[in-house]
């Protein structure tokens, strides 16, 4: 199983509510994935700065992290701690330096995700525990993607929880299982990508990042995935401005979408959507198999 939720806001008035709405959706999907959960929230950010979401080992104090980075980079580096994660904001120019510092001085720190606007949190436990741990309810933003995991394919670990991010402001959640992920992983490693886990979903995330690194738009990358990824999947992917959905041609894994003038929402089951404002009058549909759905800010319309 596994549960997926996603919320892409068209109406900026709802942005302060993004975290709260997503938390409710996530908790409703507990039955589909009680062992771990995670979410990516696309919130405030600038093109000149990069947010690094880090997972810290217990012995590392976030305050000392802030001190060390401010000292090393010569500017004040804001660090926001949430549970065992911390978001560190550096200028885009200093990002390589920050990554180097992490690698050399703090090898136990994991970079969970990075981006101008994306923050990514995940952990083991019931979805309600995970969202409380990280304070999801209080988060604001333009779009969010969440996942509740029932592990079938690799271990129940924080690193194995979704979303997976392998590119800036890019993340992916997955319900299903891929059958050719080892082969695709080997190809991508030859292309210079690296992987943290033996998880199939991380390979799918890496695949899309690789396609987009070579210039493909998200919808083009998803279309290519139909040929290259084999197995069962419903994917929901996020980029800095966009939100995409793809189901495999057999479409065993469930997916329901709701669209209003205010938002586009995704749920593995309709239950996940029932508390969204105006859901009674939303256009509710199931995404068709093997069809790429993609919404982007500003234009905010689906392309087929």
């Amino acid at each position: 199983m596994c549960g997926i939720v996603g919320l892409f806001l068209k109406n900026p008035a709802l942005e302060p509510e993004l975290g709260r709405l997503t938390a409710v959706m996530l908790e409703t999907m507990t039955g589909r994935g009680p062992d771990s959960a995670g979410f990516a929230v696309y919130g405030a950010g600038t093109q000149q700065s990069v947010k690094l979401t880090l997972r810290l080992p217990p012995e590392l104090n976030p305050a000392s992290l802030a001190t060390r980075f401010s000292q090393a980079l010569g500017v004040e580096v804001p660090v926001t701690a949430r549970g065992d994660h911390a978001v560190l904001v550096v200028s885009a120019m200093q990002e390589p330096l920050a990554r180097l510092l992490l690698e050399e001085e703090m090898p136990l720190v994991r970079i969970v995700g990075s981006g101008h606007s994306m923050e990514l949190y995940k952990g083991i436990g019931l979805p309600a525990q995970v969202s409380t741990r990280f304070g999801l309810t209080g988060m604001a933003g333009t779009h969010a993607i969440g996942h509740t995991r029932m592990a079938t394919e690799s271990a129940v670990t924080t690193a194995g929880a979704h979303p997976f991010s392998t590119g800036r402001d890019q993340c992916l959640v997955h319900n299903g299982s891929l059958s050719n992920h080892n082969d695709v992983r080997r190809r991508l490693v030859r292309e210079g990508l690296s992987f943290e886990t033996a998880n199939d979903t991380e390979v799918a995330a890496g695949y899309l990042s690789w396609r987009m690194r070579d210039g493909a738009r998200l919808d083009e990358a998803l279309t290519a995935a139909l040929d290259d990824l084999d197995g069962f999947y419903t994917f929901v992917v996020g980029t800095e401005n966009g939100f995409g959905v793809l189901r495999d041609p057999v479409a065993c894994k469930p997916a329901v979408m709701a669209e209003t003038d205010d938002y586009v929402a995704f749920g593995s089951e309709y239950r996940a959507l029932v508390d969204l404002p105006g859901i009674e009058d939303a256009h509710i549909f199931e995404p068709e198999p093997a069809r790429v759905y993609f919404w982007e800010r500003k234009t905010a319309e689906a392309s087929a």
Partner: protein
């Protein structure tokens, strides 16, 4: 869990699905024309599953998985969309979905009538064993997969692999069929087929201006009934 049951109205928001189903399961075949109204289904699963009484149940809103599964004798009306497996394994009675239905609608049904006013997703009528299904919209891929007995009527279009590995069942489609599954073929519409179709269209309340003559009939080519080495790639 204090669900208030005034003998006709149950609000699932206050008590959940289990008290409703437990109450429905106490009814037996002697009860006639009892009207039940179910409020706030909010996509919950397994609503009104396993009913075995000639009652009417109206559900006001969208339901989750398996709604009205295993139904016997009851008439269940869903004023909303239905999730996966609506009326799965229905034995008799009628289930009417006023919205769309997700995949596997009417799966393995042995009898009764399932009417879907909107579209049905993939695998509609998979392994149907005697149920009749009328979909006023379109159906998704692999519909009537391994269907055995009964009729599937599709007023719109059918997706890929319609009637794959069909045993016996009548598949009537008014619109286009994206592709036929293995061992499914178009058949001539005989007077008895047409009579069955006309009756189903009328019972389902399909727009009377839609003539049975607008439909094509598909059925089994009966080449996969017995193992034959030449067909090995089709199994």
């Amino acid at each position: 869990m204090n669900t208030v049951i005034d003998n006709t109205t149950v609000d699932i928001a206050t008590g959940g699905v289990r008290p409703l189903n437990a109450a429905l399961h106490t009814l037996n075949g002697d009860i006639t024309h009892t009207l039940w109204r179910v409020l706030n289904p909010r996509g919950q699963h397994s609503i009104a599953v396993g009913v075995d009484a000639p009652i009417s149940i109206t559900i006001e809103g969208h339901v989750g998985y398996y709604c009205a599964g295993m139904n016997q004798h009851a008439r269940v009306v869903i004023n909303g969309n239905a999730g996966q497996g609506v009326a799965e394994n229905m034995m008799s009675g009628e289930v009417h979905v006023h919205g769309d239905a997700s995949q596997a609608a009417g799966a393995t049904g042995c009898g009764g009538l399932l009417v879907i006013d909107g579209n049905a997703g993939a695998r509609c009528g998979i392994s149907m064993k005697g149920i009749d299904i009328v979909v006023k919209g379109s159906v998704g891929h692999m519909s009537a997969f391994m269907a055995q007995v009964g009729s599937l009527v599709v007023c719109g279009d059918a997706g890929d692999a319609l009637g794959d590995s069909l045993y016996e069942a009548r598949l009537f489609v008014r619109g286009s069929v994206r592709s036929l599954g293995a061992d499914c073929e178009e058949k001539p519409m005989l007077p008895e087929d047409r009579a069955i179709l006309a009756e189903l269209l009328e019972r389902a309340g399909v727009d009377p201006t839609i003539s049975p003559d607008a439909f094509r009939l598909y059925g089994s080519a009966r080449q996969l009934y017995h193992f034959h080495i030449d067909n090995v790639s089709a199994y």
